[in-house]
Amino acid sequence: MNATAIVGGKVVKFVLPPALAKAHQRNATRIMTDQEAVDFVETKRRRLALRRAKPYLESRS
């Protein structure tokens, strides 16, 4: 599977490694902007932090 990147005004075409090819097939049409990726990661971080803090929060309640 091929992909394209525009880097510094140059169009670069390349073959995806197998792991990325599978991920792209699985995600099919689900594209994501940079900001959506940042938001996604932040949401995961918040959930992770909350999960880590859960024993402490429970002991306080």
């Binding site: 880097v7 390349f14 995806l16 994501m32 940079d34 971080r45 992770l48």
Partner: protein, 153 residues
Amino acid sequence: MKAVLDTCILKLASRPNFNNPAALIVKLCWDGLLECWASPAMPEECSAVLADQPELLALVQDRFQVGYPLVELDCVQHEPDNRFMECALAIDADYLVTVNTARGHFDQPAYGRSRVVTPRNLREPSDGAGDAAQTLNHPHQPTGLIYGLAPFK
């Protein structure tokens, strides 16, 4: 060439965007042309973000090298971003690749010797390796180093 990748880069790489420089970064790592590093604090976050992409997570675990920062920093206002910077400084990374250069995140052009770049501005110099030193001397004018490799042309 050593690089530390923000988790957003891996998430973006997994999506079939028409213009996908993040996937190119992962491809370079896969080909062994870019040394990607992580610290022990990062895999848990990667696991959470890439939970639905087991193959990509396996690639990260397989190809990323692990560095062990000895200090905990708080130079970046957004606390979780400090884990990436600690790793970059510990391994003396050339690049810290992120898409989040907003204020309070990776808002400086460089931290120590590690330049903050986005996948879109990490590219090959037009006139040879001599630009590497020039790039370090002028962190505000990133010229990048690694793109334009023969297999991709």
